[in-house]
Amino acid sequence: MLEQHLAVLPIILPLIAAPLALILGRSIFSWGFATLVSGLAFLLSWQLLAAALSDGVLSYAVGGWAPPWGIELRVDAANAFVLLAVTAISTLVLVYSKHSIEKEVKAANHSLFYTAHLLCLAGLSGILITGDAFNLFVFLEISSLATYTLVSLASDRRCLTAAFRYLVMGTIGATFILIGVGLLYMKTGTLNMLDLAERIDLYDSSRTINTGLAFIMVGVSIKLALFPLHMWLPPAYTHAPSAVTAFLASTATKVAVYVMIRFIFTVFGIDHVFVDMGMGLILMALAVVAIFKCSYMATVQSNVKTVLAYSSVAQIGYLVLGLSLVSVSGLMASMIHIFNHALMKGALFMAVGAVFYRVGSVDIKDFAGLGRKMPLTMAAFTIAGLSIIGVPLTVGFVSKWYLVIAALEQDQWLVAALVLVGSLFAVIYIGRIIEAAYFQKLPESRSSENIKEVSWLMLVPMWVLVIANIYFGIDTSLTTEAANSASEWLFQTNSMLENKVMEGEVLEGHAIEEKAQEVSS
């Protein structure tokens, strides 16, 4: 009975739990409840990934209405993989957040925080699983609205302007996506992604479709903070509570990248987007500029959270670069990096949050001397930092390896060189912080303060991520297998669509997928 509804549970569960967390009221109860729910969602997504890897696609008709009329949820290797990363990070962040938000969020707002977090989780899971373009917009708004709330919960009042800025930009992005989806609906009369894909191919060079594509791409680019539409991100990440930043940095933008992948590969088709509309070059250029500009910006900031925020924008450049290479290995590099980057940034922001918890500031100068006072936190920061730099035996190296190999496969030697050179900036911005922590003395003014290691409730999630950084850097079989089958899957559905149009054979959207599954098995 439950197995049948497995696909919908990761959405429904946090969605129902969110108001309950508010009703529970007391901080400690809502914390325990939210963590439990998130942990359950993680177990469910583990099952979903296993099911998707063994059986291919799981389709679920919401409310029993058959697609394409009703809303369809589709779980395949690609989104189950990202869902696993999202729910895992969410659970770890929730464990971590108990102490962290006690310091950073007013006591009255604690249960509100857990409610918003669960809503955000529900929204993100929904975006990942849904097979319906309009439904995707709805979930995007659920997660975004929850995110604005989360950002504005910090006790530092500067978070309000950051949240407002984020709200304005986020809403513009959402509106663009809505307009785009509307245009597609106007032309094709359907909202189901597979149905859309099929009909878009029939109206190959329709101006309405192309305008829809443009709106959607710009809207999604705002959401994923692709350079130059990233200006909302650094202030939001800087001023949000640390637990929120850790969660958002490792999930929200990654999910937006997934949305872009979905729209390009499943809905519009790579030939349409990359060959006819020439978007590959645009994305590649923007990605490379993002890597260089934002990595540079990261090296000149004084607030460590801002440093990491700019680093995130630069890392998004790597993600977009991977998919702009239009190859199975390029897409695979992006998928792997979605997972890996979540591990690194989660760990880094958690370490920074721990520093804020003890020191009350995250300026680089306040990191001075922490290497001795908070050895475990700074060790975690150092290892995760090495991972961002891409030192071998960490996940960062694996990501970089696949991305550069993908670029070289396409004979893009220049791009490959730029990726490697761009990653050198990370040596500088991580190096500055580590140097401050280990080589500078604790300032006299602080020596009277009681700065010591944070509690295990913060250390355990941090170190789980750090160990994952190393484990998945050595044993890459899980990530590569999942990412590989995800990207092959995306390509297969795509090529099946292309073939079908060429042969003039009319197949229903779902028949195509079945055929793709036959081929893949």
Binding site: L386, K400, E409, A417, G431
Partner: protein
């Protein structure tokens, strides 16, 4: 000599990497009891040497030692494959580790250094990664241990923890990490994209089907990517690393780290490009002359340095390029000379650094101009210094003669007369900046301003230091007469021969 016959041969590789690693952990565990901690270091070093000797035995017997540890990427992972060149380097590093450990005990205590536990721990870790580099079976493994070596020596370079150490550490890490990521990793990935393999194979993995222009670019990337080889203009990190305590400068920045660099270049040229394949590339000559320029220029810079360790550092930069030049001459004799130079330069230069450290411990003098007349107070130290200097210059009866001899023959064979000239000029320059130091120490009077009250108290350095520098200077002498085992080992390298 094989004390480990009961073991599966391939397990020796695992052990030779794990033993120093476990040693590092034990050093931390016994950190509270300095005597026990030093005993752990010495025992670990001795066990490691016996392991490497056993591996040498197998190499002479012709047994192949291979080991695949873990697969990082499909069909590509951490794997080890013992070949004669790696054995040579492992022998040098593990033997000198024992001597340096003895020396370090005397030095660190004599100098009252702080954080000695961290020092001995990181030292063992870097030796562990050097062993990984020696026995690496593919470029990926080499790269991984190369990076681990960089990171594990960083705390040693910044040991003093003051501003100078921080600045030195910044240059050290900056140059080594940047070159390895931007050039070496790029070259490795490029190689993988071209050939689909990264294994070290006799004769190289490139063949005629590969574009010569691309290969030429890769050669340059490899040469500069291995920043530890200190080819100009990426040599600055080596003088910067001299802020480290002297045992570090001695073992790591005269032997283990820098030799890991030139060893990597030599290994890449022999087993990735192939000595024959190198001849067709346009950039071979370019890099050859850049190497030759490095030899001469850094010798010239060395002459201007008054700080003894800085002078020795630039001398090392110059000597490293001997090996690079030997590799790039693309002749079997020159490659043999390059391989031998790894060993002969190691014993010579480590002696010089030991002496520099002994002088610092005994008289707290760093500058050469203050050392006039010091030879009468510290005769053993300066005699050892003279022996080491003569070996570096390449005069009989010291070990350095042979490697220089083979290098020069290789240059003559390939009609590269400029290189022959460079080698000779470099020897003259070496005489000019090394020999005056012991000569002045023995035959000059102390300068006017020297404090007489301290002067009368100066005597030889503590016993462990003297033991260590006597052993290494003895090696300089012994290896002139008894080099045959190493020559035999070098002759086992495919495509390399001293004949």
């Amino acid at each position: 000599m094989n004390l480990w016959q009961a073991l599966e041969p391939a397990q020796l590789i695992t052990l030779s990497i794990c033993v120093p690693f476990v040693g590092a952990l034990l050093v931390i565990a016994t950190g509270k009891v300095p005597n026990l901690r030093e005993a752990v270091t010495l025992i670990t070093a001795a066990i490691l040497l016996s392991l490497v000797l056993a591996i040498t035995d197998y190499t002479f017997l012709g047994t192949t030692l291979e080991l695949d540890v873990v697969e990082l990427f499909p069909g590509l992972g951490i794997s080890f494959n013992v070949e004669p060149l790696g054995v040579l380097f492992a022998l040098v590093a593990s033997f000198l580790w024992i001597v340096t450990s003895i020396y370090a005990i005397g030095y660190m205590r004599g100098h009252n250094e702080i954080n000695q536990t961290r020092f001995f721990c990181c030292f063992a870790l870097s030796i562990s990664s050097v062993m990984g580099i020696c026995f690496s079976g593919n470029l990926l493994t080499l790269f991984i241990f190369y990076e681990v070596l960089t990171l594990s020596t960083y705390p040693l370079v910044t040991h003093a923890g003051n501003d100078a150490a921080k600045q030195g550490g910044r240059i050290y890490l900056g140059i080594l990490l940047s070159t390895s990521i931007a050039f070496l990793l790029f070259a490795i990935l490029g190689t993988y994209a071209l050939t689909g393999t990264l294994d070290f194979r006799a004769g190289g993995i490139f063949d005629d089907s590969h574009n010569k222009v691309v290969l030429s670019v890769l050669l340059v990337l490899f040469c500069y990517g291995v920043g530890k080889a200190a080819i100009m203009p990426f040599h600055r990190w080596l003088p910067a690393a001299m802020v480290a305590p002297t045992p570090v400068s001695a073992l790591l920045h005269a032997v283990a780290v820098v030799k890991a660099g030139v060893f990597s270049i030599l290994k890449i040229i022999i087993y990735i490009f192939g000595i024959e394949g190198l001849k067709d590339l346009v950039t071979t000559d370019v890099m050859l002359y850049i190497g030759a320029a490095t030899i001469v220029l850094s010798s010239c810079i060395a002459m201007t340095k008054d700080n003894l360790k800085a002078r020795l550092a630039y001398s090392t930069v110059s000597q490293l390029s001997y090996i690079v030049v030997g590799a790039l001459l693309a002749s079997s004799i020159a490659s043999a000379g390059a391989a031998l130079h790894i060993a002969t330069h190691a014993v010579g230069k480590i002696t010089l650094f030991f002496c520099a450290g002994a002088i610092m411990v005994a008289s707290h003098k760093k500058n050469i101009s203050d050392m006039a007349g010091l030879g009468r107070k510290m005769p053993i130290t300066f005699a050892a210094f003279a022996i080491g200097a003569i070996s570096i210059i390449g005069l009989p009866p010291m070990a350095g003669t042979w490697s220089k001899w083979y290098l020069a023959i290789g240059a003559l064979e390939t009609d590269k007369f400029i290189i022959v000239a460079v080698l000779m000029v470099s020897s003259l320059l070496n005489i000019a900046y090394l020999l005056p130091i012991p000569i002045k120490a023995f035959f000059s009077k102390p300068a006017e301003g020297a404090e007489p009250w301290r002067w009368s108290q100066t005597k030889e350095a503590p016993l462990p230091i003297l033991v260590a520098l006597t052993v290494t200077s003895g090696c300089c002498l012994a290896m002139f007469f008894y080099l045959q085992p190493l020559v035999d080992l070098v002759n086992l390298i495919p495509g390399v021969s001293t004949k």
